[in-house]
Symmetry: D4
């Protein structure tokens, strides 16, 4: 089990040179590094100081020393989205989860307006230890997925939509009021936060497992 | 086809004696009469003046001269609910639709946390001309139903739920932001308004039908 | 009756190349295609791949294979607006309704501050099977139109206005609280959603008509 | 012209004995006295100290020494309501306006869902110097009235309605966003405030008139 | 007395060519014309068609044929502001009031944080027939002015301020909840609407005056 | 591992006789039964039909056949509260978690205004597999606890507080915006939902453990 | 200088017996005790256990061992209110400040609608070390007082008012957006919190004074 | 003790030439001058007229004649931040406090997700006379700091964060609902306002001190 969480930089509201300075300092720890909400300019500034840094454009994230697949031995996180517009948030979650040493399975474009696609994924969903559901508009996907499985669901409301989604409020309230059990909500568009919660759940399970079986 | 909509009294904010006085006056028109949001006290006041009036306790509604089944020749409205707490609103819709001369089919307790119950009703849903979907919490039922059928859905958010439903706001926003097509939203807990829209759709279709086929 | 709804792409939050890729794929189905919320850049990307695609600039929509007028045999949708600022939303509704195989009648600039213009359109309104009312500010037009006719009204709040319209909230709440019967509300600025609901109503009526008269 | 505004007590949040003590003190000034938002208990406490005080139950107001009709020489305020539920607010406005020495004309139950009733009152409306429009739900009445006349409209949103009126917010926003000119808005359910603004307008006009014609 | 209100164009959400086309058409009526919320681009488009049109940059307004001072015989509107940031709204009110044939007096920069400046204007305030108070932040200026005079106050909340002014909401709520009597509120930043209400009050007074004195 | 979740009844908005009827039916399944948000009256109605049912007054919950401690072999949920006013929600969480077969540890009254009490519980916190943090006011406790441990935190905002907590909104937003990692939020006052999420996490871990170690 | 803050119990959401049990325990510390938001029933329960406890009915507070005037040597807090309805909050502030060992000066009923009363208190205001301003409606009193003096103002919004005060939101936003300098805001109706902040300021000044002069 | 507050210009919503004109006028008073929320363009305009003016880029502030350290004899204000994104607000507070003649101590990057850093600053915090706490997200830092010290805390919510911080609302509500005593809140991102309140507290203490010890 990979012990270390990466060092994390939250790029929103930081200037490129601030991000780069912090990134350089963290790179010297030898740990994995993850910077979220970074523009291409921020990446340019980082790369000038840490050439091995990798930019994930869709996710707007920069990583360094993400664990190889063999270093992610347990815990699969399924990342599920309703539609194309949720991709940037989903990729932020995916990149973050990988940086935290988890295995990830993408299940994209399975919104509730066409249930058959989602229903056909039941087995894949059931193989995950945690499911991250990312949806905008009314956010109903979280309720429907949570109703299909007996696995913890981390729900991420997204801010895309027509006017009365009020910057993600509709999906946020929808997910908080889910009629299905086992849903924990994180902030609007917060793919990183979802990954962090999912990774914490994965580790907690592994630790617990160790406690009961190793001794 | 029953031409006349009933005369309608909106009981909220009216005193029993005000409701009774208006009810008595409308009863003299000979048309059906419908009063919504009426307490037992309001009904007592009405009954003292119009003994044939009928009280629908769960719906909090009073009716007079509701058309017999034979006078409701076309147009079935399916009234679908997610759970037990939606019953008062659903019954307001049912009583109102009947008073407006529509046929009604109740499909209750088919919330999305247990999709199988809802999926098993697909045929019944497809037999309706309009579907009224009544749901609280996140209101996801409207999206899922609208995704299953190609029939207009009238969505009614209800106000029951834990704190962050904010008096029905969560279901309201959820339904307005539905990712499925063909959903029109009415006010929170407004079973009567849903029935009125559904009945107007039913009639509009009949009229149109008449226009094309009778001539 | 035209069976097929078009394939639809919701352009908001998609990059031009994403939109173009989906458009190209859908164009191969042979069905009509409709893409909403598309910028001129998105259209350029689409056109490079599907040269017959048509751009509707005011509506910010792209269409392919919209049914000819003879393929739109029944059901007229009246699209009613209060003022000039509602035009983009109205045109999104018009283009969408045409793509869905409906006939459309534009009744523009009939806001309630000058009732005479609206009152003079009573006959035209009464010839529609569904009326789409598009209004910003206080959205009162929906109530006034619904009070004038006995036809379903699909109400679209728009987001234009001075500060306290709060991005369309004033018109949205106004329409949800309409004192007139027969109003179903869709999302703010959602001309496409209004057309989809209106088209679903039109078809539902035709189908019903068929059921009663053809047999 | 009646110079004196009455002394006013705002009863909300005051205990009966507090209201009574203030009322007694003000009664000694010899001026008219007006207390708003008073329960029957508050009136009992007042009456015990000032027996000539008069209770207006529907308006929840107590008055003393309201000017006789001959002491209200100029300025008619039309008080217009949409429906029965607006009556308590309307009567608070009426009682307050009378206490401030204005003439009042009641035009009740002329909501926009049935335009004919309102249109038939055009002449009466045009005879007023100020029009107070009181309406709940979507508050569209203010826009429609203001569009019909060239007289200042004081708009009072009321809090009655189904869930998404959010305690009067829908009517408040509707009135603030009125597409018609000449509308000034006061607080939700604030019949007294509307009367005060209307009376101030009436006096300002009279004073102005005096300035131009007396000299 | 100047009978005619100008023809008005609300420029928000209109393209320059739309504004110019409407402006040209209205110019042909021979009446004064007023267009609000116009950018410099919109003015360029207007000027190309109607060379005599005048641009008021701070007010973002275009006028044509504003009445000369001798054609504005009665009714002074005082336009009062708290601070410099309120100037654009104030000038919109001033230009609009002049276009409507009113006399205007500017009383600027008299915010309540330095009461002495405001108190020194008491006489000027008392010479107005209507006072338009324009303030952002907490909007307290409306209450304080209304408490100083016995003249109708038209209150305009502005949207400038630190974060918790929420786009003008703080001043809007402050003005709606004014503890002083005689305040009517218009929409956030709506200088034009304030002028229209003020002008309507001025005329209503003049008409009333005429009714009592001329006959 | 206890396979079965209890059958659950959500008592809010149900009448005592409705609750009792459902409870009786579910009791016949032989599974554990849990009813939340039940008044003493609801319990009386239940007890009349199912005499072995147990009422948990503080939690407002009714249970039947809660698993004995020996049937709850793995997974400890720590339930942490800030203050006394959070007790009803905390006890709803505790009773629910026990009914779902989890072990529970109460850590009450450790709000952040006196950090020493909380810091002294670090070891107890670290022994849990999931931590449910229940706090009103600003909800800061969730952030501080999540910062202290590397265990998933399920955060429950409560609705108690002075005015600007707006029914729990302050704690809800606080928890959603937590600067610490590993926090999933459930609805305001939703002790039951927190327990359901926590129990799902506990089982997910056990299952995963099984998958890796049993084979 | 009195070192000890009292032990404090926040009564909201606590049952009488809970309050009494905590009160009894704290009484044994020998320190002053203060319990806020206590009903008469709560006081009865407390008094049964701690007979010397004193009930302040208007303030809804219970105290024990409040320091005598001689034990409150420095620091005067002026408690200023706009109107009668603010009294309960003001008395909560007064009782709390006394329990915290401060001297208090009441300046009541000096709302901004009648500026002269407030202006006549300038000297009294200037003698305070901190001023607590308590006002509902638009809360303008805080801005006006802060503009008159060069002393810290602790502003307490109150929840009384007509509909659009939204439970104190109008005064809260007004005070947060104050255009005058030196205003710190506490929660709606939070007289106790205001006293605590004021007392902390008073002590901080004394301590500072000590640091400079005693050494 | 430095008597004079600087002259202050609030740059938001002002054009560079407006700011420069006011700055030049105020520079002639000989007092310190402070302009907040100024862009580089505004500074260029100011510098052209007042060459000695100094620009503080991070703080977006311009100063003139800030008192030298020897002219700031008493009162230390600690400015505490949670993270890097709070820097612009913090620097606005620092520059403002210096311009008002206070001594300032920066304690940055001590957010509650890593309590140890904050706990290690206890002594530095205790040396301040007032503490300004600046934090975004949930704003928990204010509660934790206030719980650690017995010194007045001025809390500044910042607007940076993921979606549900709603422009600073989450931190604002968090700070208003602080469970710790002695917290006064200013507007979102209002570093200047925080400094003004802190400086007023510092002076009030000094004055009080003088009153007791000098005589
Ligand atoms: N079928 C669907 N069910 C639920 N949400 C959807 C669906 N389709 C799209 N969305 C949401 O609508 C937004 C736009 O989706 P897309 O058009 O695929 O980019 C995204 O936030 C999706 O989560
Ligand atoms: N002294 C004041 N009283 C009331 N509002 C003010 C005051 N000063 C400025 N304002 C408001 O603050 C905003 C900015 O003012 P200014 O700095 O003059 O541009 C405007 O919305 C003003 O209404
Ligand atoms: N003249 C005033 N100025 C400011 N606020 C006032 C004034 N009069 C009353 N209020 C506020 O209005 C509410 C009711 O006041 P009262 O009628 O005195 O009980 C209280 O919240 C007061 O703060
Ligand atoms: N550990 C923390 N505790 C509290 N707030 C934090 C913490 N870290 C960051 N923040 C807040 O999160 C935002 C971004 O912080 P930073 O990443 O340091 O720029 C700022 O508003 C901070 O106040
Ligand atoms: Mg599940
Ligand atoms: Mg469908
Ligand atoms: Mg109709
Ligand atoms: Mg008019
Ligand atoms: Mg006045
Ligand atoms: Mg943690
Ligand atoms: Mg001051
Ligand atoms: Mg403290």
């Amino acid at each position: 089990i990979n012990q270390g969480f990466p060092e994390v930089i939250f790029g929103l509201g930081k200037r490129p040179e601030q991000t780069a300075a912090i990134f350089e300092r963290l790179a010297q720890t030898g740990l994995p590094v993850l910077a979220t909400r970074c523009t291409a300019e921020a990446f340019a500034a980082v790369q000038a100081k840490v050439p091995e840094a990798v930019f994930h454009e869709l996710a707007q994230a920069i990583t360094l020393r993400v664990p190889e697949e063999n270093d992610r031995p347990i815990g699969t996180i399924a990342v599920v989205t309703a539609g194309t517009a949720d991709l940037p948030v989903a990729e932020e979650a995916v990149v973050s989860a990988l940086a935290m040493g988890c295995r990830v399975k993408r299940i994209f474009d399975v919104g509730v307006a066409g249930l058959h696609r989602l229903l056909s994924k039941r087995n894949e969903l059931n193989e995950a230890q945690v499911i991250v559901v990312i949806a905008g508009m009314e956010g109903a996907l979280a309720s429907v997925v949570a109703g299909m499985v007996d696995i913890p669901v981390v729900a991420v409301p997204t801010s895309i939509g027509y006017g009365a989604n009020f910057g993600g409020l509709s999906a946020l309230l929808g997910m908080l009021n889910s009629c299905a059990l086992g849903v924990g909500v994180v902030n609007i568009d917060n793919g990183f936060g979802a990954a962090a919660l999912a990774a914490t759940i994965v580790r907690s399970g592994s630790r617990e497992a160790g406690r009961f079986h190793d001794v």
